[in-house]
């Protein structure tokens, strides 16, 4: 199993589209927007630090939805999962490898954006905050692993890629990952703050603001996670 996990991670990193969407875009956006927009602060947080969280989560979602979700659909359509069913591995190992590789691949994305924050933009944070951010962003990304699985087992091939891409852009835009929801009109802000993207990032934004990360927003995120999880299990069961 570890051999399968190893090549799964390896071949995902070798995929040019994956590297572009998951690493180049978030890093590029982070550097571009922190330079372009002279937003000094969001609330009490420096924009350079605030946007680090946004883009880390944005990149992490790409891992989950595009890197894992859409590719599940492709591999199902092209018969890899059928071949796997004829190998001496547990039937669930495919999905386990996918989910574990997603949770692993999120980590370098988060670290890379934070490096840009630290080294390029000179973000200054207490050491404890730096260390706390990584697991918090990682935790916020987990519900999207389930969403990716749900997409992968609902749509086929190119349709899955379109669905993943649409959800990815829509949720990150409305959830305030591209620009803070505070710049939205009130009604849009109300919509945005109910989304899992906002609530996932909120954990880390609160940490940056020196606040306790776990509020009722975390409960809402947990609700989303449960929903995505249920849909993923339902879709997976249907197909298997």
């Amino acid at each position: 199993m570890t051999a399968y996990l190893r090549i799964e991670v390896l071949r995902t990193l070798r995929n040019a589209a994956f590297v572009m969407f998951t690493i180049a875009f978030p890093v590029g956006f982070y550097l571009l927007f922190t330079t372009l927009f002279q937003l000094n602060q969001v609330g009490t947080t420096e924009f350079d630090a605030y946007y680090m969280v946004s883009m880390s989560l944005y990149g992490s979602m790409s891992v989950c939805l595009m890197g894992i979700g859409a590719r599940i659909a492709v591999e199902r359509t092209r018969g890899w999962t059928r071949q796997l069913a004829l190998l001496p591995v547990h039937p669930a190992s495919y999905i386990v490898v996918k989910m574990v590789s997603a949770t692993l691949l999120v980590i370098p994305v988060i670290l890379l954006i934070m490096m840009c924050g630290l080294l390029v933009n000179g973000v200054e944070l207490p050491l404890g905050t730096w260390i706390g951010l990584v697991p918090l962003i990682w935790l916020g990304a987990l519900p999207f692993v389930a969403l990716g699985v749900a997409i992968g087992y609902t749509f086929r091939d190119e349709v899955a890629q379109m669905a993943a891409m649409s959800l990815y852009f829509l949720m990150s835009l409305l959830g305030g990952l591209w620009m803070p929801v505070t710049v939205f009109p009130d009604w849009l802000e109300a919509v945005g703050t109910t989304l899992p993207t906002y609530r996932a990032a909120e954990l880390s934004w609160r940490l940056l603001a020196g606040e306790q990360p776990l509020t009722w927003g975390a409960v809402l995120l947990l609700g989303w996670a449960a929903l995505f999880g249920l849909v993923a299990v339902w879709r997976y069961r249907r197909v298997s």
Binding site: M1, A3, R14, R78, G79, R82, L87, P88
Partner: protein, 316 residues
Amino acid sequence: MNDSNSPAIEISGLRKRFGQVVALDGTDLRIGVGEVVAVLGPNGAGKTTMLDILLGLQRPDAGEVRVLGGPVRKAIDEGRIGVVLQEGEPLQGVSVREMIRMLADIHPHPMPLDAVLAHAQLTDLVDRRTEKLSGGETQRLRFGMALVGDPELLVLDEPTAAMDIAARRSFWTMVRGLAAGGRTILFSTHYLEEADAIADRIVLMAHGRVVADGPTTEIRAMASGRVIRCTLPDAVPGDDLAADLRALPAVTDVEVHGTAVTIRSADADATVRALFAAYWQARDLEVVAAPLSDAVFSLTEDRPADGAQLTTGATR
């Protein structure tokens, strides 16, 4: 391990329908250890459905399957079956070596990497990425992937469907090499000559049933036909020659092209005797066994539209 008496594959009373379509209609099949068996039949005969059920990819409506003396899942988990499905891409973004190493890691008693590479003619491609392989090379990789577990039983579902003639030939050379090692091999094909050349035994399927099963020679004999060719130099085109020839004993079919005559006969001796009696000038006489395609046609002839899809590969 199973004892030598228990068959490699035992299928009994298999039934499967998809809506109105009956895919399998009480299929029975028993394959001994070490046999090389071809499943032959037109599209829609039920070959793939039977193999899918055999491998546990589909559930039958009724009937039983035992593989290597037990349930197929057990045989798979013990790494005793290698399969090449009709479709299915290897993982992309990995090299041939990485792909095979990974599979070796999940099998209980893998074949050494070098042996897999040699059997599947992959030695020169070992560092190539899977997505950069040509169609024929990909098929070799798929074959190599089926060998990694050092399986006792190989199941190949139309493995040469997408190959050109040269690729097919080299593919079957690889398969023959493995058959020589005492492995049981079950493959389905559209190509009569492949069944003829590779298999010890042919199972002919039509309409979800096994309509014939035996050594290749026996399957041919079942059509009990001979083809008689000769030249009738005095034959007058437009004459009632064809009708006259058809009236000869045991004749089943007649084709006349100018002076060249082809007669199909159920009893060549009787036909030839009568032919010479009636046409003393007949020459260039040739009597041959009816080609396997004739046997297939005669056994599946109640649906000629399907039978017509059978091809003899290079010869047609």
